[in-house]
Amino acid sequence: MARRVSTRHKVIATFAAWLVAFVIFFPILYMVITSLKTEPEAIAGINLIPSFTLESYVAVQQQNDYFKPFMNSVVIALGSTLVALIIAIPAAWSMAFSPTKRTKDILMWMLSTKMMPAVGVLVPLFIIFRDTGLLDTRIGLTMILTLINLPIVVWMLYTYFREIPGEILEAARMDGASLSGEIIYVLTPMAVPGIASTMLLNIILAWNEAFWTLRLAAANAAPLTAFIASFSSPQGLFWAKLSAASTLAIAPILIMGWFSQRQLVRGLTFGAVK
């Protein structure tokens, strides 16, 4: 509808939207601002203009090296997402293009495995990890996160794949493509927006996973969730340092989210909701 949109309407909508956006974003903004304050400033009441000191960041880095957990987070989040995709793409293919009466049930069952309370199985898992030497390894965490996110990945991909006309795959089949050819050359590239969006969502979820990452890794594989846990309540004034550490912990994923926001949304529009 390319109807005349009165400028007044647009201005009001703009104002409202910006106001709401500001309110929603405020905690993050305030966190960043606080991270640039000195400690006494940080608790001195609302003040949106910090003194722009980086002393908290310096202090945080001194106390706890940022780059190692950061790399761990990157490796674990990316790794688990990729592995999950590799396992999930064929599964979603078969659910979408060769469905049976059971398909829906299997899907729902997969999703329901996510409802299992993690703490309930912590000790058994810890013991398994201990005995297999996976404790505090990137591989171990990657495995766990893969399993945790697999249901969501399968489900999302399934909804995307269902939007792809089966005729195209049949065309590939007629053209002599083997099954793997069909998936690699045709299905996957066609579903790129959906796969990208699934990937992004899962990187976010994996990045932010704070139960297993915190409990199955001590030092070598500890990601940023552990980093933040070392700042959550030390002695003395710590608002600014806490903010700095928090900012560091979420900045990479936040920035990635901002830049890939379009992909995330584009993927969501075809699939899950349509």
């Binding site: 939207a17 929603i24 905690p27 606080t34 396992i87 729902m108 703490v119 000790v123």
Partner: protein, 290 residues
């Protein structure tokens, strides 16, 4: 599409995911069930032994048990309510032509990227803190007594925090759904004399049904497991006021190191989660087909 050959292949391709998830489900679950019938306290390895149903009785008779279930439902329901209603309103707002749409959208979805402990820490210390929080500053500005959120309204405060984290997700899904509403349908309704409210009620809302279903489904899965926010802010208290099932199990497992009791709790939670799941699928799953 469906020759015998491809069907067989299809089963084969699904196998890794299904088998992995089966293992992922069955191994820990069976271990959990096994432990739930054991006396097993990590800190007291001497007292191992068969426990019968005592772990279940113990967990079930926990004075916090019923309140935890109630709190779990409140938490899930409250967050769903806020995010769905808020998400719809936000989506409607963002669907309007506005200046700087891209930036607004980025700002609105940002909370989704924040890891739960950070979100909880920021809200607890910088926003809701009765002494130094922004809310307290605002109250004082108006000459009011600052509210001690986590003491006075613990569950509500947690709902707010969790809702803040999930609102972007709901908004995003609902916004994309909104944008997929057939333009011609809107015009038809306009021709039919429907005003904005009518169009929303009779056209937009039913169109969003599926998206709302997706939001409810996915969020429920995550919301049933909320615990980090509680751990960081209220630790389940005061009393049991903000203890949900996940946290109750957490408390049993990682504060008392009572593996048997926690396992029993885990089994109970699995059963309850499945009841919720079945209920959810029945009530809402139908919407997913179409």
């Amino acid at each position: 599409m469906a020759t015998r050959q491809t069907r067989t292949l299809a089963r084969f391709m699904m196998a890794p995911a299904v088998v992995l998830l089966l293992i992922w489900m069955i191994v820990p679950l069976s271990m959990t069930i096994w432990y739930s019938f054991q006396n097993y306290n990590l800190l007291n390895p001497m007292t191992r032994g068969f426990a019968g149903w005592s772990n279940y009785v113990y967990f079930y008779t926990d004075p916090a048990f019923y309140q935890a279930i109630g709190n779990t439902l409140m938490l899930v329901g409250g967050v769903l309510f806020i995010t769905v209603v808020g998400g719809i309103l936000l989506a409607l707002l963002l669907d309007q032509p506005i200046f700087g749409q891209g930036i607004v959208r980025i700002l609105v979805i940002s909370p989704f990227f924040v890891m739960p402990p950070v979100a909880a820490l920021v809200w607890k210390n910088m926003i809701m803190h009765p002494g130094y929080g922004v809310f307290a500053d605002i109250s004082r500005f108006f000459g009011l007594q600052p509210v001690d959120w986590f003491a006075q309204y613990p569950l509500f405060s947690i709902i707010i925090i969790v809702a803040w984290q999930w609102l972007p997700f709901a908004t995003l899904i609902l916004l994309t759904a909104l944008q997929s509403l057939d333009e011609e349908q809107k015009e038809a309704a306009e021709m039919d004399g429907a005003n904005f409210l009518n169009r929303f009620w009779y056209l937009t809302l039913p169109h969003l049904a599926r998206a709302i279903t997706v939001v409810i489904l996915i969020q429920t899965i995550f919301l049933l497991a909320v615990y980090a926010e509680i751990l960081v802010t209220t630790n389940g208290g005061p009393g049991y006021a903000s203890t949900n099932l996940a946290f109750l199990i957490y408390r049993t497992a990682l504060l008392s190191y009572d593996v048997g009791g926690a396992s029993a709790g885990g089994v109970i939670a699995v059963i309850l989660a499945n009841i919720v799941a079945i209920f959810l699928m029945r009530a809402v799953g139908r919407n997913l087909d179409r």
